[in-house]
């Protein structure tokens, strides 16, 4: 693997909320052109971690380096300006507004000046359509409400927007968890494309089957601590799954399932 500066790096970051230790001593690095999958069960600290990365929380200890330089964000807006774009689970899309209005929300392109300064709708519509086409979603009318799009397409609008506005680090919070198989694959394909474009992607998910095809590396969180980061070459899908759920629990689940199967067979024999 090429050993240049990681795009984003967390060094021994901890976050405490009063007496609660939400994150303890987390270190991870993501290079540009890489997808880091952040895996962990509920309560493992995934949300706290991404909220720390995206400037919602400030770390209690430790530091973060963006492109080798230490950073400390006052608010999500600063993180956004620095090139860390977060696509939250609840989307940041407004269903009743048009695709174009959503795409450029907060960063509207304008023409003219003084009282005649206005949104350049022609340009905005063209860019929105073009950026959506780039990810393989053919928008018929960029003036249509985002509410008319499917869940996967909405995620893609959010991601396309982040990429278009020059994100260097893309944080995706469970982008596929609410989606069907087909829609999830649309999003996954787009994540692969963002990686190919040289972004550093941090992809949070429950679902190893979504994570495994696009990831270059995995970081596993458990109860606020890190179980370590692994390159994809070093670890199999089953091992990831095992570590994620805590192998013992899965083994006991296996045993239980086997038990069910046996009783099923017995019943069918009786019948």
């Amino acid at each position: 693997m090429t050993e240049h500066k990681p795009m984003i790096e967390m060094c021994n970051v901890s976050k405490h909320f009063g007496s609660v230790i939400a994150l303890s001593d987390i270190s991870l690095k993501v290079h540009s052109g890489e997808v880091m999958c952040l895996l962990g069960d509920n309560g493992a600290g995934k949300s706290t971690l991404i909220k720390t990365l995206s400037g919602v929380h400030k770390p209690t200890h430790g530091e973060m380096l963006l492109d080798g330089k230490p950073v400390r964000f006052k608010s999500p807006a600063y993180a956004l300006d620095a090139g860390i774009a977060t696509v939250f689970q609840d989307l940041a899309m407004i269903p009743l507004m048009s695709i174009t209005r959503n795409f450029f929300m907060g960063r509207e392109p304008t023409v003219g000046w003084g009282p005649m300064k206005r949104i350049d709708w022609k340009y905005a519509d063209r860019i929105a359509k073009q950026e959506m086409a780039k990810i393989g979603i053919d928008v018929r009318d960029p003036g249509q409400a985002v509410g008319t799009l499917s869940g996967g397409e909405r995620q893609c609008v959010a991601i396309a927007r982040a990429v278009y506005f020059g994100a260097k680090v893309l944080i995706l919070d469970e982008p596929t968890s609410a989606l069907g198989v087909k829609q999830a694959s649309v999003v996954l394909r787009y994540i692969a494309k963002a990686r190919a474009d040289g972004l550093a992607v941090i992809f949070i998910t429950h679902n190893v089957h979504h994570a495994y095809p696009v990831a270059n590396a995995f970081t596993l969180l458990k109860r606020g601590g890190s179980l370590g980061s692994f390159r994809k070459e070093e670890i199999t899908r089953e091992e990831v799954l095992n570590m994620m759920a805590g192998g013992a629990e899965l083994e006991s689940l296996d045993a239980e399932l086997a038990e069910f199967q046996r009783s099923d067979q017995q019943q069918s024999q009786v019948a």
Partner: protein, 376 residues
């Protein structure tokens, strides 16, 4: 790796219309606009009174000016209320602000001999402050604006009564009209526009003249000009400016808007200030028109404004609506109010009609919103 087709490959004609995009007929596109319901309602009400009130003088030039003036007064505050509602908030203190602003203009002028313009500026500054306070409290406390501005409904009305009783011993202050002539700022809120044009039209016999040979309509009341101007401004803001986009976003989903870098708090504070200032415009026009102020002026105006806005197609939950719709809502309001008067129906029934219309409008809007979210 499958390479993503470039937009050009998708669209060999290059930058032309998408062939799958049906050119919808005009009326179908109009149907998906928020103000469509209000437009249909306006036409309906107009047709109704054209039949029922024909020959009563409602549709003579002077009759038209009268109902337009009623519509204009409401329209001025409805425009601001529309922007605020699209931004996701209410202002129930508009009516009380009208009363307070009237008092703030009249007392300094009549009691203390201030020049008109100074009193008007005082009223506008106080209104700005009230709007700011409304917005600040809503942002800061996270309470629904319904509660915060309901509190201000009482506070401002109480202040208006308290201040005027304390300083003048009365609740009605007359005698303002003597101070209007020659005041540069007051002239913006009084009189008529285009009197020369109307004289000229009358001299050509295009509009009727009264027994003295003067035109039946001497000019367009300045309130109508304010109404049209504010509606145009608000429409421009909503459709063509970044700030307009922020208003939609703040009302649609404040959290999502904030995550995308929209200054939601600033947008809301400015919208609350705008409603308070529009209430003051209303008060100025009223004080100049009647030559007096009354602490009870503007009662229920906040609710009438909300009716106009909702009839105009805005959603109570925010994020959707239009300023033109609010103007049409106000126009319906004016036509019905004056129409009932002209047709000789007992005006007691006016409020029944208003209530029914509000209900129909809301049902219709809910239906339209569902339509808007379906794939076209």
């Amino acid at each position: 790796m499958n390479s993503t087709p470039s937009p050009e490959a998708n669209n060999p004609a290059g930058g032309q219309q998408d062939e799958r995009l049906r050119k919808l007929p005009f009326w179908k596109r109009a149907l998906s606009r928020p103000e469509f319901g209000a437009l249909a309602g306006t036409i309906l009400v107009l047709a109704f009174f054209l039949v029922v009130a024909s020959g009563t003088g409602m549709f003579t030039p002077s009759g038209i000016v009268v109902f337009l003036e009623v519509a204009a007064q409401l329209g001025i505050i409805a425009t601001a209320a529309a922007l605020l509602m699209i931004g996701g908030e209410f202002d129930l203190s508009i009516g009380s602000m009208i009363g307070l602003a009237g008092v703030l203009i009249a007392i300094p002028v009549v009691q203390y001999g201030w020049p008109m313009w100074m009193a008007i500026l005082l009223a506008f500054s106080c209104a700005g402050l009230v709007g700011w306070a409304n917005g600040y409290l809503v942002n800061r406390t996270g309470l629904p604006s319904f509660i915060v501005t309901l509190a201000f409904l009482f506070i401002l009305r109480g202040l208006a009564i308290g201040i005027s009783r304390l300083l003048t011993g009365r609740t009605q202050i007359g005698g303002v009209q003597d101070h209007i002539p020659g005041d540069w700022l007051a002239s913006l809120f009084s009189g008529e526009v285009g009197t020369g044009l109307f004289n000229w039209m009358a001299s050509h016999g295009w509009i009727g003249t009264n027994f003295a040979g003067n035109p039946a309509v001497t000019g367009i009341p300045v309130s109508i000009v304010w109404w049209l101007g504010l509606t145009a401004l608000a429409t421009w803001i909503l459709l063509f400016t970044p700030y307009g986009n922020w208003i939609f976003a703040s009302g649609g989903d404040a959290n999502a808007a904030r995550n995308s870098g929209v200054p939601v708090r600033r947008v809301k504070v400015s919208l609350f200030m705008f409603t308070a200032l529009s209430a003051t415009v209303f008060a100025c026009l009223q004080v100049m028109d009647t030559g007096s102020a009354d602490t009870l002026r503007g009662m229920l105006k906040e609710l009438e404004a909300i009716i106009a806005v909702v009839i105009g197609g805005a959603l109570l939950t925010g994020g959707y609506g239009s300023a033109i719709g609010a103007a049409l809502g106000a126009l319906i309001f004016g036509m019905v109010q004056m129409g009932i008067f002209y047709t000789g129906v007992n005006t007691d029934w006016f409020k029944v009609f208003l209530g029914v219309m509000l209900l129909v409008a809301v049902l219709f809007n809910n239906f339209m919103r569902k339509k808007a979210l379906e794939a076209k």
